[in-house]
Point group: C2
Amino acid sequence: MSTQTTKNTAVIGAGVIGLSWAAMFAAAGYQVRVYDPRPDLADILHASVALYISQIPAVQNAGADVNALAQNVSVAQSVEEAVCDAMLIQEAGPEKIEFKQALFAQIEQFAAPDAMIVSSSSGIPSSVAGLKMRDASRLLIGHPFNPPHILPLVEVCAAPSTAQRHIDVLMDFYTHLGKKPIQLHKEIKGFVVNRLQAVLIREAAFLVEQGVVNMAELDELFKQSLGVRYATIGPLLSSCLGGGAGGVSGFMNHIMNGLIETVGQTPLSAASIDLLETQSQEAYPAELRAQLIQKRDRQQIWLVSGLEAV
Amino acid sequence: MSTQTTKNTAVIGAGVIGLSWAAMFAAAGYQVRVYDPRPDLADILHASVALYISQIPAVQNAGADVNALAQNVSVAQSVEEAVCDAMLIQEAGPEKIEFKQALFAQIEQFAAPDAMIVSSSSGIPSSVAGLKMRDASRLLIGHPFNPPHILPLVEVCAAPSTAQRHIDVLMDFYTHLGKKPIQLHKEIKGFVVNRLQAVLIREAAFLVEQGVVNMAELDELFKQSLGVRYATIGPLLSSCLGGGAGGVSGFMNHIMNGLIETVGQTPLSAASIDLLETQSQEAYPAELRAQLIQKRDRQQIWLVSGLEAV
């Protein structure tokens, strides 16, 4: 990144995701030019950016001057004007392959040679989205979760040809914003979290369709059980701790594989369970599990005791 | 329930689930007799019950006398001694069909005629578990989530032949304990939440097996995105609010069905989406959605800002 352009960023697309990125970039002290063909762009920036900045947990904790930070965001009249001197360009347009391919080719025309180009796509890998670019090696995925200025995660994913140094710069940038970027090791359609969401939503819709529960009941069932749990530990650590002395392999063999068959799917193979067991011993060593359980319980008690009053 | 037996309960099985029920019953002022063939039963009750009682959110909020409440729990030498004068008997034994069938036949022999018999099974419906009973109409499922004394939900499920008044008594009992019982409208293997858990864990294991992420990364990805979200709103309300003006049908048609195909499953049918749309308009009326979003965001900000320090 050249010194000249270090603090300029661009956001293309001013839906909820783009507006949220603009707020995050501005809150971290970057200048942000936003382009979207919508005729009410200035109004929507005015209505949303300061509000979103005020909701960023780090901004709330720091008691920062929200209106001053909101001044970092300005309207661009074209893609060219938005991106021409930006060190990072975050795309947040419609989730359509042809649209994104054309947009990235256009951005590439006007962007500085060392600018990073990032797609917010929730499922289209950059090796697909960048097919119309001359050099797609600086196109990456930075996929946030709605509302992006509140939920910490950004899924970072690169095409096989992308240089790791580009990825490292993006990871540092998001970390500096106060986000939790996590890099996937391989491209896969839908990335990780939306694939998990898809299987969950499909089974949820099936249970409603079967009349086992209605929509509101299903939501409450999930929220009051796995919702609380997964805010404090992920689903695989949950499986590991749920297996007691048998660990994750005990849990999968004695509890989960039967349930997986119950929902009509192929149980986990012995090799898959062995891999989880090996990884669990490294990530969650046996001697730390009592502590992990204590932390889970402490955080769950805090959540259950406090959430409803918020 | 006769006056004489109103405050006596029994727990059969002293694993984590049974110990947790004993703590909850004791904390609500019930006498609890616990039976388990394990030789260290007295020791494990001593080591666990007071600790679990102290972790119950309602007990913490009330500043109750934990040791006094723990005195409500005592050891029984047999199933007969545990259940003979109990108004409610909660089973928490191994998840094996034959074991549970034999145990419920034995419990029925010794239980008072008006006692309720409840299974903690995580997946075996009561119409199966009660097959060896003379009269299975008072056998119900009350399935908690680990750790049961902390997570609010109890899934309540009855066989088609069960009288609604039995279910109502059980729902009231759990509510009185400070739990959130939710009744399923139909029996289904695995009930609701564990079916959702099963599809999620299966896809999670697949992503680890494919080398897209490792176990710890997957846990962190989920926790920092859908984990935070689902602690505040369930997956279907999330779909409803994620669809903007298009509501849940817009979300399913334009976003989710494509992802469901991506993970190799059959997309939701038009009829299934219509059903969700109809239910969403009743459960989450359009005029309340701005408020629902505000509440979601407020709770998520609270959670993200506070959790790590707990």
